[in-house]
């Protein structure tokens, strides 16, 4: 299809058209509508769907929307749809559904009318007109909404810095948070089997940390001192287990020069810090 597209639309006046090609608004369309092929796609893209196209045809031809000449409108609509099809423009299914609807209305208009107006029989066009009017209302409302000053686009909120005199704020953490964190870990890793830590183990681990802290200087400590025997049997046992655990994890070096000599403990490879 290389020949130019020729559309004839009888139109007495050209009302404002909300269409733009390359940023230039289509204001004055010739009565015999000729659209350059490369502009055609842009032209059709300006329509938001069949209702939008129909509205354009109606308003352009200055048709009374309450008394639509169905034959003429359907014919013009079909011309556009045909152009879209022949130009291989992607034609949304809605355009075809609308075409079918228009034809149906047209054929119902041909049926014998009831003798008197105001009878039960509804105008076959009523539903279409209702939809066109509602859509046009919303289309215009959308333009008005867009014309309202908009935060971020047309004006900015004022939000001055709040100068804090108080100490820097720090996040709060309480025991429940830690509990929740651990619970989350369990749920994720299903590690209950691997990490069954008992209360005793926890105290062992606490004392492991304490012993490491004490030895941090790098020197030796006497095994007996580390056990803190004066703090009672539970502490002594926990400390003993802690030292064993540390030694097992190669964190401590335990030395004894000869049997029954004092046992000394120091950090493995302690480096002066």
């Amino acid at each position: 299809m290389s020949e130019p597209v020729q559309l004839t639309i009888r139109t007495p006046a050209a009302p404002a058209l909300n269409a733009k090609v390359r940023g230039e608004p289509f204001t004055d369309l010739p009565l015999d509508l000729y659209i350059p092929p490369d502009a055609l796609e842009v032209f059709f893209e300006t329509f938001e769907g069949p209702l939008d196209l129909l509205l354009y045809l109606i308003r352009k031809a200055n048709i009374d929307i309450l008394d639509i000449p169905m034959a003429r409108l359907t014919e013009q609509y079909m011309e556009y749809v045909e152009v879209m099809r022949t130009k291989n423009l992607e034609l949304a299914a809605e355009y075809l559904v609308m075409a079918a609807m228009l034809m149906e209305i047209k054929s119902r208009m041909l049926l014998p009318q009831p003798a008197m107006p105001g009878e039960e029989e509804e105008d076959p066009r009523a539903e279409l007109v209702r939809r066109l009017l509602e859509y046009e209302k919303m289309k215009l409302a959308a333009q008005k909404l867009d014309a309202l000053p908009q935060l971020g686009r047309d004006f900015l909120p004022v939000e001055v810095w709040i100068e804090q005199t108080l100490a820097q704020r720090l996040p709060r953490v309480d025991v429940v948070d830690l509990q929740e964190a651990w619970r989350a870990l369990l749920v994720r890793a299903k590690m209950s089997q691997h990490h069954r830590v008992t209360r005793e183990e926890l105290s062992v681990r606490e004392h492991m940390s304490l012993i490491l802290r004490r030895l941090r200087g790098g020197g030796f400590a006497e095994f007996g001192d580390l056990l803190e025997p004066t703090r009672g049997v539970p502490v002594l046992i926990v400390n003993f287990l802690a030292v064993l655990e540390l030694a097992r994890e190669s964190l401590l070096e335990v030395t004894q020069s000869e049997p029954y000599a004092p046992i000394y403990v120091k950090l493995a490879h302690a480096q002066p810090e």
Binding site: I65, E136, A141, L145, P149, L156
Partner: protein
Amino acid sequence: MLSPSEVKTVLEAALLAAQQPLPISELKKMFDEEIGADTVRRLLEELREAWKERGVELAVTAGGWRFQTRPSFQKYLERINPERPLRYSRAVLETLAIIAYRQPVTRGDIEDIRGVTVSTEVIKRLEERGWIDVIGHKEVPGRPALYATTKTFLDDLGLRSLQELPPLEEIAQTLDLTQTPPPAPQPAPDEPATAQPSPA
């Protein structure tokens, strides 16, 4: 006990620092003394008057009182705030209009009015902007979501309530086709050319 002018200074500082519009009920909380809502309102009106000639104005929106820059200053401010929201497509704007004026609506309702399918993208953009949200589900098969506009929508457009939305244009006097059509040729209802916002 603070003098009225001290109260006004506090109100001004609070509103300048606020992250969102503040209603009078909230502003009152700053003062130990019982200060009536009427007094606060009067002082706010005085403040608004005092800011009249500035680049920033005190406005009232759905959420309360807010300082905001005047649109006429945007041309200066945008040179140092280069990030601006993109303009919305017609699909987004029409969907927004339908939700704003016909809420609560389902996606199906929107599609009926627009005559085309509404993409998820369009709904998502409006949701992400915080302008619409799901307020329930329609009790029909599929229980489709019901959308409505939010307070943020009103705030961002500087509206106090949905009543302040631009009135819908009455395009035809009547939808009732059984009545006699209007005798005069109907003037084209298109908006004047100036009403259409010019794209930047």
